[in-house]
């Protein structure tokens, strides 16, 4: 009860009298109640709708074999008919109340799936689960524009991601799920156009995270030259560029619109860290070395795509340096450029893993220092996480000679001690 403490202080100092203090206290109590009540109503409406929807799906999945075909057909269309009737009621009577729109949209989303599933059972319609999910998403997509329901956005994004993963793997990583890119573009367009940045921010945050994670996962599907294992190196570079592009974009609030900038940063930083950790294993570069080196940089569509993304990322970063100065640039954004010589060196000279380890160590240290300077414990912890993961990976890395491992560990440890000493001295100097 922070407000009570402040109010009693104001009364003691004769700034306000007791009547005004009690009015203020009453005002905040009622305000808080309304806000939390509304949130609970919305949350319960969403949870309730999801349960009813899922229950319908499970009931349909039961397969009511003892009914004849016409009865089953009637029941197959019943969920769609009844939820559409609810929809009509909401459109005519409750179209200004978001809770109603959210609920009816979720129920309609699931009843569409239920109806399609029951028709599939009756007529033994063939096809894999991911193809069924695609049909479901296409059928449910217009609901977005009808109800502007945020939970439906989340459901559609998750389901279309499921489709894309299924499609890409079913086609042995050789075909891009174009329909995924089309539908995710429609979903993103809808979010930009119809969602207010300042309303219902919690759900918008979830939408942001799910969309960014989905795109990061399916990003790999733009590469279709799966037969050439040697192109893994190209894909790793592509992921570094993509992650740094996310970090760069998070600085442009006019571009990211209603999306949460933290989602781009978190996915960007973690994506970059996981790619770098993969590259820090010597085994990764050894596999690349098993192929004719010239074939790694042979001209194909994958390489062309990566170069295009690299140029785009570099232009944006250089433009930012030009206008805002190098100090404003996040050093993570420069990793793809720094990696050009490392990749080339790694392919031809077997030094890729060593340089990647050095880069991760440098990144971790810079992050800790930056966090310390900004007094931000989250950034410091992220830097610690980077170095901890690096230590764990190297400690259990059986390919590294024990002698080298011991010396490197001691040297790095000493480095941190020295840095600590310098820091303490600087602090003392500043104090005097």
């Amino acid at each position: 009860m922070g407000i009570e403490k402040h109010l009693s202080e104001l009364i003691t100092n004769n700034v306000i009298d007791e009547k005004i203090a009690s009015d203020i206290s009453q005002y905040y109590m009622n305000k808080g109640k309304n806000v939390s009540n509304n949130k609970i109503v919305l949350a319960f409406a969403i949870i309730g709708s999801v349960f009813v929807g899922l229950g319908t799906i499970v009931l349909i999945a039961y397969n009511w074999h003892f009914f004849n075909k016409s009865v089953k057909l009637f029941f197959s269309l019943l969920p769609l008919i009844s939820s559409s009737a609810c929809g009509l009621y909401v459109v005519l009577k409750k179209n200004k109340q978001q809770i109603w729109k959210e609920s009816v949209s979720i129920i309609q989303f699931f009843t569409i799936g239920a109806s399609l599933a029951m028709i599939s059972q009756i007529y033994q319609l063939q096809g894999e689960t991911y193809q069924f999910v695609l049909l479901w998403v296409i059928t449910a997509l217009p609901l977005l524009f009808l109800y502007n329901s945020k939970v439906t956005t989340i459901l559609l994004t998750s389901y279309i991601t499921y489709y894309a993963i299924g499609y890409y793997f079913e086609n042995s990583l050789k075909m891009t799920p174009l329909l995924y890119w089309l539908i995710i573009a429609i979903i993103i367009f809808h979010t930009y156009k119809f969602y207010d940045k300042n309303k219902n921010r919690r759900l918008l945050k979830i939408i942001s995270f799910i969309t960014v994670i989905s795109i990061s996962m399916i990003f790999a599907s733009i590469f279709t030259n799966a037969s050439a294992t040697e192109t893994t190196i190209i894909r790793s570079w592509a992921y570094l560029i993509f992650s740094s592009l996310l970090i760069t974009l998070s600085n442009y609030s006019e571009i990211i619109g209603p999306y949460d900038k933290k989602s781009l940063q978190v996915v960007g930083y973690l994506g970059m860290l996981s790619t770098l950790i993969t590259l820090s294993f010597d085994g990764f570069w050894q596999i690349q070395g098993a192929f004719p080196r010239s074939s790694i940089l042979q001209f194909n569509m994958d390489l062309l795509l990566v170069i295009a993304i690299f140029c785009m990322q570099s232009i944006i970063s250089l433009n930012r340096i030009k206008h805002q100065g190098i100090a404003k640039i996040d050093y993570y954004e420069l990793i793809p450029i720094i990696f050009v010589p490392i990749f080339l060196g790694g392919i031809y000279l077997d030094v890729g893993a060593i340089f990647t380890n050095l880069i991760i160590l440098a990144l971790g240290t810079i992050t800790i220092v930056a966090g310390n300077r900004q007094n931000n414990i989250l950034i410091v912890n992220y830097g610690m996480l980077i170095i901890s993961i690096l230590i764990i990976c190297r400690f259990f890395d059986t390919e590294m000679p024990l002698l080298a491992k011991g010396i490197v560990f001691i040297l790095i440890g000493c480095g941190f001690f020295v840095y600590n000493l310098i820091l303490q001295r600087r602090k003392k100097n500043n104090a005097t």
Binding site: I57, Q121, Y123, Q124, F132, M175
Partner: protein
């Protein structure tokens, strides 16, 4: 008022679209059932589950075929699987074709999944692989099948076929 009318219009378009898809699935299947010829295919079923559509039998229809000019094909290529009737009245995969076969043949559009160059054999991904079945019946059938040695298991499906489209009607096990 204007906004309400617009919302109602979007509602009508959305609902019509959703019902159109559901009705298309029904009518398309009904057309194959009413106009198609009945064909039988041998198989070895197993029982997995689909999270949305419930229990089904994975049909495992014989999908390996010998191809003469194997070098012209690669994994992932689309093709038409052509079936021929044997002396017992069952349809068996005979060959594949790049072009759509004539209407008097029984064919299904499919995809090449595996190629064994040395044997000139290709395994196809056929568009029929599922038979949806009620939960308890699926378990009962599964335990029945597991008791039969795979050599003596005789199972087939009855389907309706019409111009490259197929609808599964029934699954028959050990009643040959």
């Amino acid at each position: 008022m204007q906004r309400d009318k617009r919302l109602l219009l979007i509602f009508i378009i959305t609902t019509t679209f959703q019902f159109a898809i559901a009705l298309y699935l029904i009518i398309d299947s009904e057309l194959v059932l009413s106009n198609g010829q009945e064909i039988k295919l041998r198989l070895k079923p197993v029982d997995p589950i689909d999270i949305f559509r419930g229990h089904y039998f994975q049909l495992n229809i014989e999908s390996a075929v010998k191809i003469e000019n194997i070098d012209n094909w690669k994994v992932g290529d689309k093709c038409f699987a052509i079936f021929d009737e044997d002396s017992l009245g069952f349809y068996k995969l005979k060959s594949i074709s790049e072009l759509e076969p004539s209407k008097n043949k029984v064919y299904l559009s499919s995809k090449i999944m595996w190629i064994i160059q040395s044997d000139s054999m290709a395994t196809l991904q056929l568009p029929i692989n599922k038979f949806y079945i009620e939960e308890s019946k699926a378990k009962q059938l599964e335990s029945e099948i597991s008791g039969i040695p795979s050599d003596s298991l005789k199972a087939y499906i009855i389907t309706n076929y019409n111009n490259g489209k197929i609808t599964v009607k029934d699954l028959i096990i050990n009643k040959l």
